[in-house]
Amino acid sequence: MFRNALRFLAGALAGALLWWFAAPAYDAFVGKAAEPLLRLDKRFRDVDTAERGRWVIVRSAGGRFGLGELPADQMTYNVILFIALMATVRRPRWRRVLAAVAVLFLSHVITFAIGTESLYANGRDPASTAANVWMMANLFLRVVGMLAVAFGCWWWVRAGGRRAR
């Protein structure tokens, strides 16, 4: 148990450093990866994203909608918990670890896309059903989803370890 706690702390430290310094570049990458997903909604046909510090701006190339800003680092900080938890898994199966990283990245892309939809739906009509549904999905992902994805990935990698503990 004590060893696991130490491994968790070392992982958390590494994760915090990585997130603190790499978040702007990573968030910009997440924004770009979310563009095809956003284009499924015709209103975002010409969506373009760009990094602005620890935020990502969303804009329309043809001026179809106004400029929006999303606190992208607030959607990706579970990278720290993910790395900390993964550090406690001894002799993991690396295929499972890679799959878990892919799931984490995908969750960030989906969270970004839903955050964008929620932002604009709220701007159009905050009392509409669409705005409420997007807001519920956004809150779910950003409040409990962040913790759940890191935990779920860890649980799955841990269960597939070569030596069950």
Binding site: A16, L81, V144, G152, W155
Partner: protein, 162 residues
């Protein structure tokens, strides 16, 4: 229990338990009063530390320094996580109840420490606030919730089906 089966049960329970909390009416009737209670207790703790804090709703103020306890800062996310995980894991109802009461108490005590330290950081080292708010304390609370659940799973007897 197979990990995939547990995870599906966990995610379904998480959605069923959390989505009602995002409704405006539930937020006003349950979450905001709960956050207010955290603000009152945190304010009292900060006053014991000589901070001369005034509490108004979910906002703690001392001079020009103010901290607001919003969704995601009241420990509810960790509590919902624990309820979903403990209910999804095979155990007796008594074991679940004991695990939940103990784990929720630890999380809420830890959350009070989070609010108090974040207030102090915002007052004396505001440049570090964002790092502690997002990176460090969220990881500590999330890590504690996972650790509490894991420790509980190692202590429960899994009932066998006939």
């Amino acid at each position: 229990m197979k990990p995939a089966r547990f995870l599906i049960r966990f995610i379904v329970l998480l959605a069923v338990l959390y989505l009602p909390l995002t409704l405006q009416s539930v937020d006003a009737a349950v979450i905001v009063p709960f956050s207010r209670a955290i603000a009152v207790v945190s304010g009292a703790l900060l006053n014991v530390l000589g901070q001369h804090v005034a509490v108004s709703g979910v906002i703690l103020t001392a001079g020009s320094n103010a901290v607001s306890i919003q969704n995601g800062c009241n420990g509810i996310e960790a509590v919902v996580f624990l309820v979903a995980a403990i209910l999804a894991f095979p155990a007796t109802w008594r074991q679940r109840l004991v695990g939940l009461v103990a784990a929720i108490a630890v999380i809420q005590i830890l959350n009070l420490v989070r609010v108090v330290t974040l207030f102090l950081i915002n007052r004396y080292k505001p440049d570090l606030f964002e790092l502690f708010h997002l990176a460090i304390w969220q990881t500590v609370i999330g890590g504690a919730a996972v650790a509490l659940f894991y420790v509980w799973t190692t202590r429960v007897h899994v009932p066998k089906r006939a």
